[in-house]
């Protein structure tokens, strides 16, 4: 194992050296304005789901409803009596079924991992440095992973893919669709957000300690990095100004491009959100302080043990990617202190979404939301926290998160309450098309059951 690890490090180093040469000429990439799904090809024939219980999320529940999908979009939603089904539509009877928007998992490593213990099947985070904002999920995303069909069969149609929390800044996230012809169709938003992890797990303590081996080191390194990036931005601004003013024969030479700082700048300028991820109140406070100092656009992550600072979190107005709520309570706490966190956030008006923080069992996302209901979260809010809230937090609510006309037709048909363990998902539609309800696991099941 050790030998393999060293080898993989060597390869990574070579690639790192090779990259800047190719990238040197290009300017920092601007944030993509629209998810790529807008350009995806449409299904040819409208599909109408008739007679189901529509859980719209945005406008309540419609018993005996009709939903029409066409061209990859939802084109009609309403009570059966009031929706006219297009003449050429394929009508699917979904009487007795629930119909709801595809679920969004707000933090997974889908596409970055295949088999946990097999290093070569994992691309989770670069271990050689903490400050890795220029590592891009889209460069590693394995569209053909066996994990995606397994996950989407439970009604999860979109996810935020995030490098592992090994580094304070492990790289930038992608927003994906869990079906598509290839990676380009599935990566809807690339490098659209970035985690900043401050949980203690980032301290470099394995083997000989390296900087930063403490939280002091982590925070100081982040501050220095942000100042350096601002410096870098100033140099470029100065150059652009001089360059614009200079005569053709006296053009100044540009500063050296730095991929790290180029990657960081949109975040330091508040153009893209940083997901401040911390579990303990003391860590959350440090992360929030950093965010204030550098005027970051903040989404909070985890906040597992924040029970005693929830008012402060509510006052900050930062949205939260909560979880996972199955984390064990700390010493001195009641058994349900973490289970009840979503309900407490809701009471204080905090906008939050759930995340599996998992890959192989990202499929259990709806059950996490269900368990929060057991511990006091209203069911409607739990549904929102796996759909519309997530879409709003990630800035894609115009296309995802509810059954509304004009949105991408990511729609799930199941035989019951989406958050109930016993409920079986019968059909998933992504971009208005039926996704095959098969996975490597169903193939194994069918092969051996028949023997």
């Amino acid at each position: 194992m050790r030998a393999t690890l060293t080898l993989s490090k060597t390869i990574a180093t070579v690639v790192l050296f090779a990259l800047p040469l190719a990238a040197q000429q290009s300017k920092p990439a601007a944030a993509p304005a629209k998810p790529a799904a807008a350009q995806a090809p449409a299904a040819s024939q409208p599909i109408a789901l008739r007679g189901g219980k529509l859980i719209t999320v945005s406008k309540g529940v419609i018993e005996n409803g009709v939903l029409v999908m066409d061209g990859g979009k939802i084109t009609a939603v309403g009570p059966a009596a009031s929706v006219t089904i297009p003449r050429n539509a394929r009508v699917i009877d979904v009487k007795g079924m629930t119909v709801y928007p595809g679920l969004i998992d707000s933090r997974t490593q889908l596409g970055l991992t295949e088999i946990g213990a097999v290093d070569m099947s994992n691309d989770l985070a670069e271990p050689s440095d903490q400050i890795m904002p220029h590592m891009l999920v889209e460069d590693a995303f394995h569209a053909e992973t066996e994990l995606i069909p397994v996950t989407r069969m439970n009604g999860i149609t979109n996810a935020v893919v995030t490098p592992s929390a090994r580094n304070t800044l492990p790289g930038q996230m992608s927003f994906i669709q869990l079906a598509g012809k290839d990676r380009d169709e599935m990566l809807l938003l690339r490098s659209f957000a970035m985690p900043l992890n401050f949980t203690g797990a980032q301290r470099r303590r394995d083997g000989t300690p390296r900087y930063p081996s403490t939280r002091m080191g982590m925070a100081t390194q982040l501050r220095q990095t942000f100042f350096d990036a601002q410096d870098y931005a100033n140099k470029w601004a100065e150059y652009e100004k001089k360059n614009a003013e200079a005569k053709d024969d006296k053009k100044p030479s540009p500063p050296k491009r730095d991929l790290r700082y180029d990657a960081l700048l949109p975040y330091l300028q508040g153009k893209k959100p940083v997901v401040l991820t911390a579990a303990e109140p003391s860590d959350i406070k440090v992360a929030m302080q950093l965010a204030r100092e550098f005027k970051l656009k903040v989404i909070l992550g985890e906040i597992t043990y924040a029970h005693k600072m929830l008012d402060e979190i509510a006052a900050s107005k930062f949205p939260v990617i909560v979880g996972e709520i199955y984390s064990a309570p700390r010493s001195g706490e009641r058994y349900d202190s973490v289970y009840s966190l979503p309900a407490e956030l809701h009471k204080r008006g905090v906008k939050f979404a759930f995340a599996s923080y998992d890959s192989h069992n990202a499929r259990n996302l709806p059950y996490e939301a269900g368990y929060a209901v057991a511990f006091g979260l209203p069911w409607e809010e739990a549904m929102k926290a796996v759909t519309l809230n997530a879409a709003e937090i990630w800035g894609v609510a115009d296309q995802f998160g509810s059954l509304d006309v004009g949105k991408t037709a990511n729609v799930v048909v199941a035989n019951g309450d989406p958050l109930e363990l016993k409920t079986d998902v019968k059909q998933v539609f992504i971009n208005g098309r039926e996704v095959p309800m098969t996975s490597r696991q169903t193939q194994l099941r069918d092969a051996y059951q028949a023997r």
């Binding site: 194992m1 946990g116 090994r166 199955y326 058994y335 069992n361 499929r363 363990l421 016993k422």
Partner: protein, 448 residues
């Protein structure tokens, strides 16, 4: 008083306080006639009784039915609108072992007793109790081909150590094969580094124990015949433990994943003449379920955990139900301080994946799990004569929304959600030990 002396006296005081805190474990309570009234009773063995009652006497279930003959002075627990099920049994746990799950200094350690590592103040016992677990089997880890002997506990959190041990529970021993022993010993360039090595190490150990057993049998024979000169062989704890396995005195619990490993283990058990009680993890049993059923081996498995290593790559969530339909006795277990807080949810997934009935799903975390431990005649269902280990839920326990209201062991409420603070009537305060770790054989969860 000098500073030093002040410090010393404070240290003494702290030590004294700690000692007092430890000494303050509750005494086992005296039995009280108790009647649980008005709940939906999920007996697991004889269906559901709507609006039923259970009479508890001397810590046992004395009556169960639509009505019971409760004495007027019986303590009443009103379960109107609630659901009552047998206490959940976790047939594979490493909780409360104080970080000492694996003795990794040698692949054969049958003489180790998990009881010696059992930390009875570990808060993970409480967390599981609050999730409805009343009994757990604490197993050695999977680093060794032959690991130590299990401790079986009741989650009477707040009582003293010895009062938490399941009285007269059959002995169980943990065997393991596959990747974990390969990784641990292969990583040091020792055997076993392959599955060939796995089973050769196991076979060699059993062979040695067989010889040891024969020496003792010969000695016993001589003594029986009145040979006063007979000299006893040297007593060897390791060989003695394995000889007990060969004599059928210890339940053999085997951690393994792959279809071929089940067949190898079944063949080796036949070769040496012992019985395997259960395969643990057992993620590929669906591939050879008939043979596992024929060998009379149960499984203690996960529902949907998969992909954390190669031998878990062919895991499918339909494994429990496919195996059950082909005749295998199936238990669902936690192997973790995470899942043991919500085993009801893991069982409910057997309905979603494969269509188990509610009773079948419940059996996987109660009666079938009790069988794995060998205590199925004493716990695991709501039947007259069994220990009054019961869980009262606010709704059907196989729902995402279900919460435990009360966990009852031997007729006494050990967890009550309605109580302030921890909800623990027998915990006298003081520090709880234990960390939040995953506590598993297979700590392969990705760093998120």
């Amino acid at each position: 008083m000098s500073l030093v002396r002040a410090f010393i006296s404070r240290a003494c005081l702290t030590a004294l306080l700690c000692a007092t805190a430890l000494a303050q474990m509750s005494q086992p309570p005296a039995p009280v006639d108790t009647v649980i009234k008005g709940g939906t009773i999920l007996t697991v063995t004889h269906g559901t009784i709507e609006n039923g009652s259970i009479l508890i006497r001397n810590g046992k279930i004395a009556e169960v039915g639509k009505t019971v003959n409760a004495p007027a002075n019986a303590k009443v627990i009103d379960a109107t609108g609630k659901f009552v099920m047998p206490g959940i049994i976790d047939s594979h746990s490493h909780t409360a072992l104080n970080g000492d799950v694996n003795e990794v200094t040698g692949p054969v350690g049958p003489h180790l007793l998990m009881q010696d590592a059992f930390d009875y103040t570990d808060r993970n016992i409480y967390h599981a109790l609050a999730g409805g677990v009343t009994t757990s089997m604490l197993l050695h880890g999977s680093a060794n081909m032959i690991g130590g002997q299990a401790a079986v506990i009741k989650h009477k959190f707040g009582l003293d150590r010895d009062d938490m041990l399941f009285p007269n529970a059959p002995r169980s021993i943990k065997f393991a094969s596959g990747e974990n022993p390969k990784r641990v010993y292969g990583g040091r360039n020792q055997a076993p580094a392959t599955r060939m090595g796995n089973f050769t190490v196991q076979r060699a150990a059993l062979q040695e124990a067989r010889e040891y057993m024969r020496e003792w049998d010969a000695y016993d024979e001589k003594v029986k015949k009145g040979d006063k000169e007979a000299k006893p062989p040297k007593r060897d704890l390791k060989q003695e433990a394995l000889a007990d396995v060969l004599r059928g005195k210890v339940h053999v619990q085997i951690h393994c994943y792959r279809a071929d490993e089940f067949l190898t283990e079944i063949a080796m058990a036949k070769e040496f003449g012992y019985k395997i009680r259960a395969f643990h993890h057992a993620l590929e049993v669906y591939k050879v379920a008939e043979k596992v059923a024929e060998a009379g081996v149960a499984i203690a498995t996960f529902t949907d955990w998969w992909g954390y290593k190669i031998e878990a790559w062919d895991a499918i969530p339909w494994n429990p139900v496919i195996s059950m339909r082909k005749g295998v006795r199936v238990a669902i277990k936690s192997d973790s301080n995470d899942y043991n807080r919500r085993l009801n949810q893991e069982a409910a997934k057997a309905i979603r994946y494969g269509g188990a009935t509610e009773e079948e799903a419940l059996k996987m975390i109660t009666l079938n799990a009790a069988w794995v431990l060998g205590v199925e005649d004493r716990v695991g269902s709501i039947d007259v004569g069994k220990d009054a280990d019961l869980v009262i839920w606010d709704r059907h326990p196989l729902s995402s929304y279900a919460k435990v209201e009360k966990s009852i062991i031997d007729g006494h409420v050990y967890f009550d959600r309605a109580l302030e603070g921890y909800g623990l009537p027998f915990w006298k305060g003081g520090p709880m030990t234990g960390g939040g770790g995953f506590g598993s054989d297979d700590e392969y969860r990705e760093v998120r």
